[in-house]
């Protein structure tokens, strides 16, 4: 593994994984196609519903094997893979596990169909597939939603096999609920009582999706992903000096602890602790290491003297 210092980290090539969910007819596929250089993995025949001007290259897949083959062939040619829908992908992964019983032992029930262990395989397949995709592409997973009544309101939930519904969010950097509010198309990145979402890298709250008029470029997600990279770059630059100060200080801590050998040196260190060039949470971390060191030496804290004393010393 190559270790990279925060100051040298480069996020210009960072690939983003995003979930877009919404009710039918909200324009999820058209929005997903606004990502940079898209190949659409169409498991749901969603491309037919996109206006011809905004259509992109598509691969119509019926099995997970077909998807893997098309994704492998897309390397270097596309920047984004859009999976329409994530729910259909999970269904294909279920079938893949059932069709490969030797590879996924115990994945199929004796009575047929996928077993509980099989769902475990599907979850791992989804994580591995997402991680593999991220190496070369941005990824947009489209999910349909269902609406259910909850307390006095409603709740929108991804349409996806129950066991995998939670896990699909795990690799995603961003998850947004696409809705139409007073005629405006809006993406919700911050979770509410009505829907689940995931915000990150400064992308949060409600963001308007502009209406596409004839001749308008469909580039909303291209700009959003560029903003993510800019925010990441700025965050890393802001953190770098603090991280360096933290790393420089923490590497000296083992030596500081070795110098504590008695109650006297422990109490001397207490005076030094506040004066160290602290950064991030170094003070609390060194405080915890220091306490552990004192205990290791058999010292005990005398609350009245407000000092460490030898373990066999009587409290005053």
């Amino acid at each position: 593994m190559a270790i990279v210092k925060p100051s040298a980290m480069d996020f210009s090539g960072k690939n983003v994984i995003m979930i877009i969910s919404g009710l039918p007819g909200t324009g999820k596929t058209t929005l997903a196609l606004s990502a940079p250089d898209v190949l659409l993995i169409d498991c749901d025949e969603g491309l037919a519903r996109v206006a011809p001007a905004h259509r992109k290259d598509a691969s119509i897949c019926k099995t997970f094997d077909e998807i893997k083959a098309d994704v492998a062939a897309a390397k270097g040619q596309y920047k984004t893979i859009v999976v329409d829908t994530g729910g259909a992908l999970v269904d294909m992964m279920k079938q893949f596990v059932v069709d490969h019983p030797k590879e996924y032992q115990g994945g199929t029930k004796k009575t047929g169909g996928i077993s509980l262990q099989g769902f475990g395989y599907v979850k791992q397949l989804f994580l591995d597939f997402s991680a593999e995709l991220r190496k070369n592409f941005n990824v947009v997973y489209i999910f349909h939603e269902s609406m259910s009544k909850q307390n006095d309101g409603v709740f929108y939930e991804l349409i996806c096999e129950g066991a995998a519904r939670t896990l699909v969010y795990q690799p995603a950097d961003l998850a947004a609920h696409l809705m139409i509010v007073n005629g405006r198309r809006v993406l919700g990145f911050t979770p509410t009582e009505e829907y689940t979402a995931k915000s990150a890298y400064g992308i949060k709250g409600l963001i308007d999706v502009p209406e596409l008029k004839d001749g308008d470029p469909n580039d909303f997600l291209t700009k959003l992903f560029a903003t993510v990279r800019e925010n990441l770059k700025k965050e890393a630059a802001d953190l770098a000096p603090q991280q360096k100060a933290y790393d420089d200080l923490m590497k000296d801590v083992p030596g500081m602890m070795e110098a504590i050998t008695s109650a006297e040196s422990a109490n001397q260190f207490a005076k030094v602790l506040d004066t160290l060039p602290h950064a991030l949470t170094s003070k609390k971390e060194i405080g915890a290491i220091y306490k552990a060191r004192c205990k290791e030496l058999g010292l005990k804290w005398d609350a009245k003297q407000k000092a460490w004393v030898a373990g066999d010393a009587k409290s005053e």
């Binding site: 939670t166 896990l167 689940t196 953190l239 949470t281 609390k284 971390e285």
Partner: protein
């Protein structure tokens, strides 16, 4: 509430208070916590303790066999948390509406500005800890922290949920609601007598803790 006394307060008590409004037997469970009755050990609690123990053991250089039921997630977490400080106990005073509380918390792991908390839950869902008072409490205890990560395990997979200080409602708001709730339910005297810092630590001493 009378002052200048100081009162012990934990995220756990605030969490039980919040559950009054969301769980059927939440009020009874809150009363048990308020009266400081020991919580009966449930399977979920035992799993949580065992899981965290296994992660700590590996971080401390102990070996767990690949046949261990949580081998994969434990090793994954141990690698992720390497170099962090474990079980960092902290306290900090907070004054809300003129009442002084001493907030107390034990961070599972702390490293480089990030607080990590491991959970074991067989049924995780996204944003499970959104309303939890834990991360607002811990951000108060560690104001220099830049991130709080819940690392929830269902026995097989790790689910990461991240919060940042600028995204949360400060813990003062929850404490205010807690105080109002105590007053309205005539529980203020119970709290101030059982959670007064002096009596709290004296009784802990008697319990040998």
């Amino acid at each position: 509430m009378p002052s200048p006394n100081k009162y012990h307060l934990t995220q756990s008590l605030l969490s039980d208070f919040q559950r009054v409004f969301t769980v059927e037997d939440g009020y009874d469970a809150f009363l048990a916590s308020l009266y400081r009755k020991p919580k009966p050990m449930t399977e979920a609690m035992a799993d949580g303790i065992a899981f965290e123990g296994a992660v700590n053991s590996v971080l401390n250089g102990e070996y767990i066999p690949p046949t261990h039921k949580w081998y994969k997630p434990v090793m994954e977490l141990a690698e992720y948390l390497a170099g962090s400080q474990q079980q960092v106990s902290l306290k900090r005073d907070i004054i809300v509406d003129g009442v002084c509380f001493q907030m107390h918390g034990i961070l599972d792991f702390l490293r480089s500005g990030v607080i990590y908390d491991t959970k074991f839950s067989k049924h995780y869902y996204l944003n499970k800890y959104l309303q939890s008072p834990q991360h607002p409490t811990y951000f108060y205890l560690v104001p220099e922290a830049r991130e709080f990560q819940y690392l929830s395990c269902d026995g097989q997979f790790i689910y990461k949920e991240i919060y940042r200080p600028d995204e949360i409602i400060p813990i003062e708001y929850t404490i205010k609601q807690f105080m109002v709730f105590l007053d309205r339910n005539h529980l203020t005297d119970t709290y101030t007598s059982l959670w007064n810092l002096k009596t709290y630590y004296e009784s802990k001493k008697k319990e040998g803790k």
